[in-house]
C-alpha cells in the first residue's frame, strides 16, 4: 500500500509534546491544557480558545532525575512525564488537569507543584476525586468535581466561557473528530484492512496530542484518501489481534507487533480510541455537563472500576471487539509497575482464554518498547500459536465434513 499522504507529517508531530501545531495554536492565543487520564473529560478542555494536550514524553532517554524523585518502582510513563517536565518540556502548558485515579500519575502531577516545574505565573494544577462506580450520586459527584476543579478554574484564571453553549460547541468539534476516527477505524473490520494498526495508532495519537481545529482538515483528507486506497494483493499479516491494556502512546510498539506478523485491529488501551473516540450524544432537554460526565464514566474501561457490572462489562467488551473486528486473539499489555493493569492483565487474560475460549497472550513492557527483542519473541510466538490454532480449527472442520 502507498503511504498515507499525511503520515510522515503526523509522525513528525509526534516527536515532540510541544509540537508545531501546539506552538501554532499557542501563537494564535490558544491556552494549552495538559492532562494524562481519560477521566479528565477531554472535550471540556477544548472550550473557547483552550485546547487539550494529552501529555506524552516522546523520545525519552535517561530518567535518572525522575528516578531519584520517584524511585525505581514506578511506571515508566509517570517517570518519563516527570523527567520531561523537569527538563522544561512542558513549559508551554497553561494548566495541568490531574485526577487521583492512579497513585503513580498522581504523584507525578504533584511534582509539578512541589518542584514548580512550569515557568508560567498563571499555570494552575487541579486534582479531581474520581468515583469507582457508577450510581446517581457518583455521577453527581463527578459533575461537581469537573465543575469546581476544571470549568470554574478555567473561567477564574483565563476567563474562558464555559457556558452550555460553549460546551456544546466543543462537543460538536469533538464529535467530528470521533466520526472521522470511527469511519477510518471501521476499515479495520475488513478481511484485508486498508489501514494498518500502526497508521491508525498514529492518527489516534494525533487527535489526542494536537489542537483539534488544526488537525481536522488533515484528518478529513485522510478519511477521503482511505476510501480509494489500493490494497496490496497479498495480505501483510498472519493473524489479527486486539491489543488491550494500560497507557500506550508508543506507535513503535504497534509497529513491533505488526513487524512480527500480527495486525492490530482494535486498540483497547489508554490513549487508544476504544474508548475515546465515541461521539458524545447530547439530549437538549438534559444538563449538558452531566451528560458529558456520564459519557466518560460509562465508556471508561479503566480497571479501577471495581463494581461487579463494570468488571464483567470490561471482559464482555473485549470479547465483543474480537468478534466485531474478526480478531484471532487478544494481547493484554501492561506497563511495568502499573498496579491496576498488573492484576487486570492476569485475571482478564485468564478469563478470556479459559471462560471465553479466546486465545490470549499477556505481556508487560517498558514505556519505550521499540528496542525490546524479548517482546518481539513473545509476539512472534503468539502469532505462531494463533496460526497453529487456525490450522487445527480448519482441519477439524474438514474432518467434521
Amino acid at each position: 500500500m502507498r503511504d498515507l499522504k499525511h503520515l510522515y507529517e503526523f509522525e513528525k508531530l509526534l516527536q515532540e509534546a510541544n509540537n508545531e501545531l501546539v506552538q501554532k495554536a499557542k501563537a494564535d492565543g490558544g491556552i494549552a491544557l495538559g492532562y494524562t487520564c481519560y477521566h479528565i473529560p477531554e472535550v471540556l478542555l477544548n472550550c473557547g480558545n483552550c485546547f487539550s494536550v494529552r501529555l506524552r514524553a516522546p523520545r525519552t532517554g535517561s530518567m535518572d532525575i525522575a528516578t531519584y524523585y520517584m524511585s525505581n518502582f514506578l511506571c515508566g510513563f509517570s517517570k518519563a512525564i516527570l523527567e520531561r517536565a523537569i527538563e522544561g518540556g512542558y513549559n508551554f502548558l497553561d494548566a495541568l488537569l490531574a485526577s487521583e485515579t492512579c497513585s503513580e500519575m498522581n504523584r507525578t502531577a504533584e511534582h509539578f507543584e512541589l518542584l514548580n516545574l512550569v515557568e508560567n505565573d498563571k499555570f494552575f494544577l487541579t486534582f479531581l476525586d474520581m468515583p469507582f462506580k457508577i450510581a446517581d450520586h457518583t455521577v453527581k459527584h463527578y459533575v461537581t468535581q469537573t465543575r469546581n476543579k476544571i470549568l470554574n478554574k478555567m473561567t477564574e484564571v483565563y476567563g474562558i466561557d464555559t457556558s452550555d453553549a460553549a460546551l456544546l460547541k466543543a462537543v460538536e468539534e469533538h464529535n467530528e473528530v470521533c466520526r472521522l476516527m470511527t469511519e477510518i477505524g471501521n476499515y479495520r473490520k475488513e478481511d484485508n484492512p486498508r489501514i494498518t494498526g500502526y497508521e491508525y495508532h498514529i492518527l489516534s495519537l494525533i487527535t489526542y496530542c494536537c489542537p483539534k481545529s488544526l488537525i481536522l482538515p488533515m484528518l478529513r483528507e485522510t478519511a477521503e484518501e482511505l476510501k480509494t486506497r489500493e490494497l496490496d494483493e497479498k495480505k501483510n499479516f498472519r493473524a489479527k489481534i486486539v491489543v488491550v491494556g494500560s497507557e500506550m502512546d508508543d506507535p513503535d510498539f504497534t509497529a513491533l507487533i505488526e513487524d512480527s506478523g500480527a495486525l492490530v485491529v482494535a486498540d483497547r488501551y489508554c490513549f487508544g480510541t476504544m474508548p475515546g473516540r465515541e461521539e458524545i450524544k447530547i439530549n437538549p432537554d438534559e444538563d449538558v455537563l452531566t451528560q458529558i460526565c456520564l459519557h466518560y464514566l460509562k465508556t471508561s474501561q479503566c480497571p479501577r472500576y471495581m463494581s461487579h457490572e463494570k468488571v464483567q462489562e470490561r471482559r464482555d467488551y473485549v470479547r465483543h471487539l474480537v468478534d466485531e473486528y474478526h480478531a484471532d486473539g487478544v494481547m493484554y499489555e501492561q506497563l511495568k509497575f502499573c498496579e491496576y493493569w498488573g492484576y487486570e492483565r492476569a485475571l482478564a487474560s485468564y478469563v478470556m482464554s479459559n471462560d471465553y475460549g479466546v486465545p490470549t497472550a499477556a505481556v508487560d513492557r517498558q514505556y519505550t518498547a521499540s528496542a525490546s527483542g524479548q517482546l518481539r519473541t513473545r509476539v512472534q510466538a503468539f502469532v505462531e500459536s494463533l496460526e497453529i490454532k487456525k490450522i487445527q480449527k480448519e482441519r477439524k472442520a474438514k474432518e467434521n465434513g
Partner: protein, 510 residues
C-alpha cells in the same frame, strides 16, 4: 538488659533458648502473661474443639497462630516495669479478640460445618473498613475477611505469606505489586478463606492494589458484593456529600441483604465508646510528647489499628484495657519511670511498617536506644463523633473512614504525608525518622526524592529502611537491621546499646 541477642538460638530460627531474666517481679509478671496467652488460645480450642482442629488441618495459615506466644515475646524483649505491663495488656486484648474471630470463623465456615445457621448471619467486609458503621446491626456478625487468614498471620509468622504470594505470581500477577493485596488474592486463588457470609462489603481503601485484588476475592466468594467508595481527595469539602451518600448506601445494602434494620441507638452507643477510646488514645499521645514517654515501639500502632478497625466501639473490653493502661502510664509518668534502659534518640516511624517484622521498633530500642514515640499508623483519624444528630454522625463516620489505616497519609495529596511528617517530628520532639521504604508502595515511592530533599533541609537523622511489607524473601529482617546498623555506625558513629543484637540470623524464624 544487655546480651539479649544471646538468648536466641543460632540455627536461624532465633527461638528463645530460655526466657529473659528481668528481675524477679518482672520475670514472674512476664511468665504469668505468657501463661494467660496460652490459656486464651486453649479456651478457644475448647469452645469448639472439632471445628478448630478441622480448621487447623484445612487452612495453612491456622498453624501460624500456634506461634502467638513467640510473637508477643518478640515485642516484650527488654521491657521492664510499666512498659512491660502495658504492652502485655495490649497484646492480651488483641489475643482475646482475635481468638474470638477465629472461633466464629470456624464455627460459621461452611467447609467445616456445612449447613450451619451462623453463616447466613455473617456480613463479610474488607478488613480495612472500620467497624463503627456495622455496630448499627447488633444482630449480625461482621467478619473482616482477610484479617485472620492473612493480615494478622503475616505478623505472627513471617513464613506464611510467601506461599500465597507465589500462588498469585504463578497466576500472572507481577511480583512488583504491593504484597499485601497480592497475598490476599493468593488466599482467594488457593480457596483458603473460610466459606461463610450472606454478602460482602468491598472497598476502594487503602490503595490501588487493594482495589484490584477485589476482583479476585469477588470471583472466589461468589456473594452479593457492595462496593463502598471512600473519596480520595478527602481534604476537599466538595467530596463530603458523596462520602456521606456512600455510608447511607452501605446501610441500605446491608438492610436489603439481611432484612435487619439499622439500630441508631446501638450505633450511637458504639460511637460514644469510640469517643471514650479516642480520649484514652490522646492521653497516650500526650504522654509520649513529654520527655518521659511510657509506651514506645510497635505495641502502640498494633493495638491502635486493631481496635480502630475491629472494635469500632462495639467491644467494651478494649475500653477497660485502655483505662487500666492509662492509669499505669500516668503513674509511670508521675514517677518519671524511664521507658527503656537508655533513650538516646526519639524517633518517628513513617510509612507502612513491615508485617513480617512488627517488632523492628523493639529491636531499635534495645540495640540502639532509639525509642519510637510516634508512627504513621497510630496517627490515623482522631475525629470525635457526634452522638446525637444522625446526619452529623454519618458525616463524622464518613470523615473518619477517609482517614483510616494506610490511606490517611497515602491519599489525598502529598501534604498529608510529607507536611504531616514534619508536624509530627516537631510535636514529638523527634531527632530521628525511621523512613520505611516499602518498595512496592507506589504512593510512597512516588515521593522518595521529596522526603530526601526536605529531610536534608531540616538536618534530621533520616534513616531509610527498605522492606517489602509481607515478603521477607525480598528484604529480610536482618537486611532491615543492617540498614540501621550502617547508618548508626558510619553516619552517627555510635556504639550499640546491646552489641549482641547488632547482627543475628532469623530468616527461618516465625
Amino acid at each position: 538488659m544487655a546480651d539479649l541477642g544471646k538468648l536466641y538460638s543460632e540455627d536461624r530460627k532465633a527461638v528463645l533458648k530460655h526466657r529473659e531474666w528481668r528481675g524477679f517481679r518482672d520475670t514472674m509478671y512476664d511468665y504469668y502473661r505468657w501463661l494467660v496467652t496460652w490459656k486464651d488460645m486453649i479456651v478457644m480450642v475448647l469452645k469448639a474443639p472439632v471445628s478448630t482442629v478441622k480448621g487447623l488441618w484445612r487452612y495453612r495459615w491456622m498453624a501460624s497462630y500456634l506461634s502467638t506466644p513467640s510473637f508477643i515475646d518478640r515485642h516484650t524483649a527488654g521491657l521492664r516495669g510499666t512498659h512491660l505491663r502495658i504492652v502485655h495488656l495490649h497484646f492480651n486484648m488483641i489475643v482475646k479478640h482475635a481468638t474470638g474471630l477465629i472461633h466464629t470463623s470456624f464455627v460459621a465456615d461452611e467447609k467445616i460445618n456445612p449447613k450451619n445457621k451462623l453463616s447466613k448471619k455473617i456480613v463479610l467486609t474488607d478488613e480495612i473498613i472500620p467497624n463503627e458503621i456495622f455496630s448499627g446491626f447488633p444482630n449480625l456478625t461482621v467478619i473482616p475477611l482477610q484479617t485472620i487468614p492473612i493480615f494478622l498471620t503475616s505478623m505472627v509468622d513471617q513464613q506464611i505469606t510467601p506461599p500465597y504470594l507465589e500462588v498469585t505470581e504463578s497466576f500472572g500477577v507481577p511480583a512488583d505489586v504491593c504484597p499485601l493485596p497480592s497475598a490476599e488474592a493468593g488466599v482467594a486463588i488457593e480457596d483458603d478463606y473460610p466459606k461463610m457470609g450472606c454478602c460482602m462489603v468491598a472497598t476502594n481503601m487503602p490503595c490501588d492494589g487493594s482495589v484490584m485484588n477485589s476482583t479476585f476475592l469477588d470471583r472466589r466468594l461468589n456473594l452479593p458484593v457492595h462496593l463502598f467508595n471512600i473519596p480520595l481527595r478527602y481534604n476537599d469539602e466538595d467530596v463530603q456529600e458523596y462520602a456521606v451518600e456512600e455510608v447511607k448506601e452501605l446501610i441500605k445494602f446491608i438492610e436489603e441483604q439481611t432484612g435487619e434494620k439499622f439500630d441508631w441507638d446501638v450505633f450511637f452507643e458504639a460511637l460514644k465508646n469510640s469517643n471514650k477510646q479516642l480520649g484514652y488514645e490522646m492521653e497516650k499521645w500526650d504522654i509520649n510528647k513529654t520527655d518521659c514517654p511510657q509506651m514506645t515501639g510497635a505495641a502502640f500502632w498494633l493495638y491502635r489499628i486493631y481496635y480502630f478497625n475491629l472494635s469500632g466501639g462495639v467491644d467494651k473490653r478494649f475500653l477497660k484495657v485502655d483505662k487500666k493502661v492509662n492509669k499505669l502510664m500516668l503513674k509511670g509518668y508521675e514517677k518519671k519511670e524511664p521507658v527503656s534502659k537508655e533513650m538516646r534518640h526519639r524517633a518517628v516511624v513513617w510509612s507502612c511498617p513491615a508485617n513480617y517484622y512488627t517488632s523492628f521498633a523493639n529491636w531499635l530500642e534495645n540495640c540502639w536506644g532509639m525509642n519510637v514515640v510516634m508512627d504513621m499508623e497510630t496517627m490515623i483519624s482522631y475525629i470525635r463523633y457526634n452522638t446525637e444528630d444522625k446526619e452529623q454522625a454519618l458525616k463524622d463516620v464518613a470523615k473518619t473512614y477517609q482517614r483510616s489505616i494506610m490511606r490517611k497519609h497515602t491519599k489525598g495529596g502529598y501534604r498529608n504525608v510529607v507536611d504531616e511528617l514534619w508536624r509530627i517530628v516537631e510535636e514529638y520532639d523527634a531527632d530521628t525518622v525511621i523512613m520505611y521504604d516499602q518498595i512496592s508502595c507506589k504512593g510512597m515511592d512516588g515521593l522518595a526524592g521529596i522526603f530526601d530533599d526536605q529531610a536534608r533541609e531540616r538536618n534530621i537523622n533520616f534513616i531509610w529502611v527498605k522492606q517489602d511489607l509481607m515478603d521477607p524473601r525480598t528484604i529480610s529482617r536482618r537486611d532491615m537491621r543492617e540498614q540501621v546498623n550502617k547508618y548508626m555506625q558510619t553516619v552517627l558513629q555510635e556504639e550499640p546499646l546491646d552489641p549482641s543484637l547488632v547482627d543475628f540470623e532469623d530468616d527461618l524464624a516465625w
